[in-house]
Structures are given as C-alpha cells and as structure tokens.
Amino acid sequence: MTNRTDRLHGNLDLLILHMLAREPMHGWAIAQRLQAISRNVLQVGQGSIYPALRRGEAEGWIVAEWRVSEGGRRARFYTLTSSGRRQLAREHASWRQFAAAVARVLDLA
C-alpha cells in the first residue's frame, strides 16, 4: 500500500495536468475521475491533490477561478495554461523514458 502511494505521489502532477488538458475541472471532479479511470488502483488520499494543485498554481502551470459548479455550489475550477501544457509534455516524456528503462531492465537483467 505504501509503495503504491509513494509512486503515485511522485506522478500526481503528471496525472493532474493530463486531466486538465482536456477541460477545466474542480478538485472533486479531478479526484473522482482519477479514481474511476484508474479502476481504484490509484487510491491516494483524495485530499492530497490540493497541495499538488497549489503547487501547480505557484509554478504557473494552472490557473484557478471560482465558478458555479454543476451542483450549484461555488467551486474552484482549474485550467491548464500554455506553460502547463509544456510541463505536461515534459513530464509525460520523462515518465515514458522511465517506464521504458524499467521494462528493459526487467527484460534483460
């Protein structure tokens, strides 16, 4: 359990950025989508997306604004910026490199 959480933590940024690449979302939606698509494997404490989101704002990858959500309540929607798209591409490439290297080691070693 701990291993998986750690691994996820390091890549949370990548996943969040990827989610937001499609459309702006608020925190709850991001968490639910993450759980749903990953088929509950990636079960990180839902609250931990918030530090990641704040970090993303600080780095300028995402911007946030308050809007009215579908449920009628005020929610903070996050949108990917152009610099965020570039960061997404970088992290995606880095992840693919890592995954490929691990696969090679497992195959050849």
Binding site: G27, G45, Q46, G47, P51, R54, E57
Partner: protein
C-alpha cells in the same frame, strides 16, 4: 523553493488563500459524504469514512500553504514589474510627478538635515547638558552675558561646590614663524581642568598636565582639528614637533578631534599661567568660563550656589561687584541657541512647501485615477480579484515612492552642499551637516507618505469600481467629486503660497532696510589689515613710531587716497580693548557706590577719518601736534555729544577714561565726528570716543587703506609696507569693508534666500495646479461649451467663464492665506527690521502677485474653452 521572503509575503496574503482552500476542501468532503450516504452508509459512518478517504486534513493544508509561498512572492515580483511598466507607460505623468515629488522631498530632507545636525544630534561632548557656560552680567545694563573678570572667576572656583571642574579660557594670539612665513595663530589660554570639563579625549597625543600651568613650564600647545589639517597637512607625527611661537620654542603635545570647537577648531590651546595682577582684577573682564556639574547635582542647585557666591562678592567688593550677577547657560543652548528660531522657521516653511507639493501630487494622482476608472472596471470583470487590483495599485505607488526617494535624496545632497556653502560661516555646527542616513530615512518616509496618502483615493476608487457605469458612460462617475477635490487642493496651494510669499517679502524688506542704513563709514575701495604688535614692540613709543611710519609710507604711495590705523574695525570682532569707564569733568558726581558707565573707545592714527570718509562736524581731527608729550586730547562722535553734551559746546570740555593703558589724565575734547555703526548695520550708533595713537599706543593695529586699485592689490601693498619695516610681523586678518558688510548681514541673507526659493516653488506649483485643474474641467465640459457656442454664446464669454472660475478659486485661497499669514508672521518678529509683521504693503503685493499668477495660469485653458471646435464636436456625437 520558498525563500524567507516568500514565506513572509505568503504570510501577508495568507488569510484569503487559506479561506479559499478551506472552502474547497469542505466542498470536497461534503461531496464525499454525500456519495457515501448515497451508497447506503449512515451519516456518522459516512463522515468517518470520508475523513479517512480524504486524508489528514491538517498536514494537507500545511503542505498546500507551503506550495503557495512561492506564488505569493512571484505575484509580488510580477506586481512590481507591472507597476513599473504602467508608470513608464505614462512618461508625462511619471516625469512631472517625480520632479515635483523629488523637489519637495529633496528640499525638505535638506532642511531636515540642517535641523538634525545642528539642533537634534547630540553634541560631541559626553553628557553635554551637564556642562555650563557661566557668564557675568551687570544687573543695571541688562546685558545678560558678559565675559568674566579674573578675580571673580578665581573666587567662584574656590567657593563654589557644585561645579567640578570649573575652568576658563582667555583669548590670546601667538605669532608662528612657519615655513611659509609669519602666521598669526589664534590662541586660547586655558586654565587647569579645561579639557576635563568637556571630557572629549584628544585625537592624538594628550592635553595639558597640571604642572604645565606653572610659570616657565607652559611652553606646550594643543592643536585644533581644522588647523591641524590645513597648516600641518593632517600629519600623524605632528605630536612632539617644536614650533617657534612669539620667538620661543613650543612643543605640540596633542590634537583635538573634529567638532570639539571650543571655541573653534581653527586655533591652538596653550596652558594659562596666572599673572599677579589678575588675582585682584575685577574690572577687566575677558575670561570665558565653563564648568561641569558634579554627579547628582541639578542645574538649579548649581545656579543657586553661584548666586550665593556672587552675593558674597558683591558685599566684599562693593565698588566693583555691587551689581555683578551670574548667568548660567547649558552648553547646548550656548552653542545653538541663537539659531534655533531661524532653523525651526525654515523647517516650518519647508513643511508648507511639502504640503503644496503633496497637493500637486494628489491632484495628478486623482486625475490619473479618473482616467483609469474604465481600466479598473474591466479588470474586475475579467476576473482579477479586487484585492489583486488594489495590491497592484499599492505596489505601483510604492514603486513611485521609491523612485521619489531616490530622486529626493539625490537632490537633498545637492541642496545640503549648497546650504553649507551659502550659510554664514559662524552658523554653529554647520560643518557637521551632511546628507547622511538620517536624511535618507527621512526622505524615504516623506516620499512614501506623500505618495501613499495621495494614492489612497484612487486605490479606494479602484476597490469600488463597478462595471456598468464606467464602461457605458462617457465620463467616470467620480469625475465631479474629483474636480471638487482638486479645486480644494488648489485653494490650499494658493493659501500656502501666500503665507510663504508674505514671509519672504517681509524678510526682503528687512534686508533692504538694513542695507540702506547709513553705516557711517565708506565701504567701497576700503580694505582692512590687522596685526598685533605687542610682542614685537614692547615699548609704547616704538609701537607709535611703527604705526606712524607705516601710515606715512602708505599715504605717500601712488594709488592710495588715504591710509590710517584703528584699534576697532567696524563690523569686525574686537581686536583689542574697547571699553573704559567714563567720567566727565564737571558732571554731577555719581551716587555713592555706583561705578562710572563704560564707554566705547577707538584709538586712531593717520588719515583714519579720511579713509573711512567719516565727516568732521565740529572742531578738528588729530594732528602731529598731538603726541605723547603734549596735552591729552580726544574726539567724540555725534551720539556721544547727544548723550553727554546735549545743549552744551563739547569742544574744550574734559573727559576721563579710567583705564590703565590710556593714561591717568583727563583729555580735552577737540572735535566731533559722524557716527559709525560699529556693531551692526541694524543697531543704532553708540556713543564713542577716539584717542590718538601717539598718546595711547595700543598694539592692536588695523590699517585702513582706501585706494583705486583692486582690494587684493591694496592689501598686498599694505603687507609689503609692513614687512619692509619688520618682516617678522604676522598678519592677523585681511579683508575688505565690503566683505565685512556682507558677512554682517550673512544670516539675514541666508534666511531670505531660502525662504524666497520656497515661496517661488510654492507659487509655481500653485500656478501649475490651477492650470491643471482648469484644463481638466475644460476638457470635461467640452460638450457643454460646444452647445453654448452653438446656441449663440460669444467666444469671449466662454473665456470669461473659465477665467472667472480660476480667479474665484485663487481669491478664496488668497483670502485664507491672508488670514493664516496674519496669524503666523508674528513668528518673524525677532528677525524683522524696519517693518512690522503686519506690514500692509507686503500683504497687498503678495496677494496681487498671486492674482496675476492665477490669471496667467488660467489663460491658456480659457482660450482652449473659447476655441472649442463646434462642428467637430457635433460630428463626434
């Protein structure tokens, strides 16, 4: 990674992002709970599960906050850059505001620098307020501070407990045979304990030891800082050097640090050895006395004790001390007391100027805010939080304030230099004045205060910007309010300008009045050169011969109209004794116990009266027949005649000046001459007596020469003549009479120049204020004017409307200013001459000047109004 600064800024902007985060997390939790309940769990279980699924809230919140730290700091940097760009984007606004702000802040900071270094900073003596200057005073004459007689000082020292040490200094002079020729060194002889009174340690070497005040052991000197730097090049090895002073070898034992200045830094101190005759001398008063209060003794106690001693002395020596009292002045007051009023006056004036500057800056900020109303509304609509816009505006103002500080401080440095050069040389502590850190801090505070306080309104306006009216309407809704505010500011500016103009005007009239006073002596083409011949010619006859020879040679020289010698140069410090007790033969005897009044005397030789063009009113001047063996004679001046011989023929009467050096015999009055204002152009002439040098051969000789050549040439010729006769004589002082007059009005002129500069600045700003306001209003009302014109109004009428409004504002401001000036000018009373603080002419002229200014300033906007292009306007509708 968040730096310390980032964390601090995050701290500042913490609350809003915290609240937002909490709201987000709460929403998330609520949705989680709702979903779990939908799955079938009950409320409490759902909440429990939700908490677990969410994760540890507190640490998550902390983590999120940490991530924010970076953002806040970056936002700040972005704000600063944006603020900078916005300001640069409007170069006109920026330049004018910066110039105005810089000049106002710079001037205020410079005057603050003067006030700070002269009045506020502590004196360079430890516990200076426990050091007292102690003076004699004559209860009859009301003269509060007189030098002290030796015997009185000695008795005070012996009998007074609270002062320890009590010491004195005596003015003297030594001729130094320097490598560059004979140089006169101003010397002050000091008693034991002198330097201990002040407790300032020497910069080099030591001060005097006790045994050096014994006869024969006193051939040591301590140098003053300025003298050390100019005459000895600040050499570190000067201690131990031997100087030939008055023909004898003296050893330099120490150098005092900069700023010690008791009484000056340009002198030497030598140990005083008491002379026999001084022990009983109570009429010759020439000591300056200082004392330090003992630990735990208050000044009241010290004064009371000295009064007690003075009373004892007045009983023991009734003939001399009957009316002698004591005046005790704390050292700070002694040094800076005379300029305190003037400095605070300057400070008050510059504060007024700063207020006018602030009003101008406010005006410009308001006008700009009006123009930006649309920008704020738009940014709000596009999602910039209100707080963000406000923060950005604050930052912009801070940038403006920082630029204002930089410019203001740079100008302050220039101004401080100018003030130091312009100020009268005897302004105390002026050498210490500099644009230092205190001045920088002051400039920063002023600049930020002005900018932030004038920027507050736009910031508040930005905070309230509403979208619809601003975007839809043509004019900003707050426009009318802003116009009223600006009008109020302009009125204030005119009010302040009038006060400053009146002040400057009064000082100007006083200055002119003083200069117009007949001095009684001629100043153009007249030079004065002073020497002391006591040590070179110990014999009186030899001194007389020397002076006669010099004067004869000078009188015979080509290009010299007249030459003479005097022992007392008008407007110059005394170089020799000048007062003697006067008895008039035949006058009614004085009441018992009263001592004779003191009269001012001058010893004259050669063509002194011709050189000064002092008119002979009656009788004759001194001639060669008035020599040591003939009848003692004297010449009196008009003031003396009016006071002592009001209805009587003075020629032939006999007067006695009871002073040892002047002979014991009464003198016959042989002539009456015109008055000379010896002590200052603004003082009425005092009664005085002239004596011929041959009959009273003083060694205090000032040669007065009048000629056609340049002053420098005349002085050189005089020096050559003196050195031809005796090359070892050092020159005490050389100057022109014109310079002396200049110096005597130096302080007056200094105040006048500064106050005039302030008044001019204020008037210019007020004119700009009215110009700006009228332009603004005209621009706002273009439509109205166009309509009026279309309806048949004449252009001159529109001109009149605008001009009338401008004049109305000016008149209101001027009226308030007149009232304020009436209340404030009494502060100037001590500095005025020949005018009262309520002089009507000055007030009227000041008001008139401002009216004309307002008319001129309003003229251009008025013509703009009159020339509104109607057809163009109609097309734009």
């Amino acid at each position: 990674m968040p730096t310390l600064l980032a964390r601090l800024t995050a701290l500042l902007f913490r609350s809003r992002s915290d609240r937002e985060l909490d709201e987000e997390m709460r929403l998330h939790l609520d949705l989680l709970v709702a979903r779990l309940r939908a799955d079938g769990l009950d409320d409490r279980e759902a909440r429990r599960r939700a908490r677990i699924e969410f994760g540890p809230i507190t640490s998550l919140r902390e983590e999120a906050r940490d991530a924010c730290g970076v953002r806040a700091f970056e936002e700040l940097v972005r704000d600063v850059r944006f603020g900078f760009r916005t300001l640069i984007g409007r170069p006109g606004f920026l330049t004018v505001v910066l110039l105005t702000l810089g000049v106002g802040v710079g001037g205020s900071a410079a005057i603050f620098g003067a006030v700070n270094s002269i009045l506020l900073k502590p004196l360079p003596y430890p516990d200076a307020d426990r050091v007292m200057a102690i003076w004699q005073h004559d209860r009859r004459s009301g003269d509060q501070r007189q030098e002290v007689a030796p015997a009185n000082f000695l008795d005070w020292r012996e009998r007074s407990r609270p002062f320890e040490p009590l010491s004195a200094m005596e003015p003297y002079g030594l001729d130094w045979l320097s490598p560059d020729g004979p140089v006169y060194l101003h010397t002050w002889l000091v008693y034991e304990g002198f330097f201990d009174v002040f407790r300032t340690p020497p910069l080099l070497g030591r001060t005097f030891r006790l045994e050096e005040h014994q006869p024969g052991r006193g051939d040591v000197v301590v140098l003053g800082y300025d003298l050390w730097r100019t005459r000895f090049a600040g050499a570190e090895d000067v201690v131990g050097r031997v100087l030939t002073l008055d023909g004898r070898p003296y050893t330099v034992v120490g150098v005092m640090p900069r700023g010690f200045a008791i009484p000056s830094d340009d002198i030497v101190w030598a140990p005083k050895v008491l002379e026999g005759w001084e022990e009983n001398s109570r009429t010759s008063a020439f000591y300056t006395v200082f004392g330090r209060l003992r630990e735990g003794v208050g000044i009241g106690e010290g004064v009371a004790d000295l009064d007690r001693v003075a009373t004892q002395l007045s009983h023991e020596h009734p003939r001399t001390n009957r009316f002698t009292g004591v005046a005790v002045v704390p050292l700070p007051e002694q040094i800076v007391g005379s300029v305190r009023t003037a400095l605070w006056l300057l400070f008050g004036s510059v504060v007024l100027v700063l207020a006018v500057v602030a009003a101008s800056v406010a005006s410009m900020q308001f006008a700009r805010a009006a123009a930006r109303g649309r920008e704020f509304a738009l940014r709000s609509a596009l999602g910039a939080g209100r707080g963000r816009v406000v923060r950005q505006l604050v930052t912009e103002n801070l940038v403006l304030g920082a630029l204002g500080t930089a410019l203001g401080f740079a100008l302050a440095r220039l101004a401080v230099d100018a003030i130091r050069r312009l100020a009268p040389a005897d302004l105390p502590r002026i050498a210490e004045m500099s644009a230092d850190r205190d001045v920088l801090v002051f400039a920063a505070c002023l600049s930020l205060l002005v900018v932030l306080s004038t920027g507050i309104v736009p910031i508040l306006v930005a905070g309230r910007a509403r979208l619809q009216p601003a975007l839809g309407g043509r004019t900003f809704t707050g426009g009318r309010v802003l116009a009223h505010l600006q009008a109020a500011l302009v009125v204030f500016q005119f009010c302040a300008s009038l006060v400053l103009l009146v002040g400057a005007g009064l000082l100007m009239r006083s200055f002119v009045a003083v200069l117009n006073q007949p001095a009684g002596f001629r100043t153009d083409g007249v030079v004065a050169l002073t020497v002391q011949t006591w040590s070179h010619y110990p014999d009186g006859a030899a001194r007389a011969g020397f002076v006669r020879e010099v004067v004869e040679r000078l009188s015979a020289a080509p290009g010299i109209a007249a030459a003479g010698m005097t022992s007392s140069v008008p407007l110059m410090e005394t170089i020799g004794a000048e007062l003697a007790p006067l008895t008039i033969e035949g006058a009614p005897p004085l009441p018992d116990g009263q001592s004779p009044p003191l009269v001012h005397f001058t010893i004259a030789a050669g063509g002194l009266f011709e050189a000064f063009s002092i008119p002979l009113i009656e009788g004759r001047l001194f001639e060669t027949r008035d020599h040591a063996a003939s009848t003692p004679v004297a010449i009196i001046n008009e003031a003396f005649r009016k006071q002592h011989f009001p209805n009587v023929q003075p020629i032939g009467r006999r007067i006695l000046l009871a002073r040892a050096s002047l002979g014991a015999e009464p003198r016959v009055v042989v002539g009456v001459v015109g008055d000379v204002r010896r002590f200052g152009l603004h003082e009425s002439p005092r009664p005085g007596v002239y004596l011929p040098h041959a009959q009273a051969p003083t060694g205090a000789n000032a040669f007065i020469v009048r000629g056609e050549g340049r002053p420098a040439d005349l002085l050189r010729q005089t020096k050559r003549t003196i050195w031809q006769l005796n090359p070892a004589i050092a020159i005490y002082q050389e100057t022109t009479m014109a310079d002396l007059v200049d110096i005597s009005v130096g302080e007056r002129r200094f105040l006048l120049v500064l106050l005039s500069v302030f008044a001019a600045m204020a008037v210019v700003l007020a004119a700009a204020g009215i110009f700006g306001l009228m332009s603004f209003v005209t621009a706002q009302r273009t439509r109205e004017y166009g309509v009026r014109l279309a309806l048949g109004a004449r252009r001159e009428q529109l001109l009149g409307v605008v001009l009338r409004r401008a004049m109305a504002l000016a008149v209101v401001g001027i009226s308030c200013g007149l009232l304020a000036a009436l209340a404030l000018t009494r502060v100037l009373t001590g500095m005025l001459y020949g005018v009262t603080p309520f002089d009507p002419l000055t007030f009227v002229v000041a008001g008139f000047v401002l009216c004309v200014t307002a008319a001129l300033a309003g003229f251009y906007p008025a013509t703009r109004a009159a020339n509104v292009n109607v057809s163009e306007l109609l097309q734009n509708e």
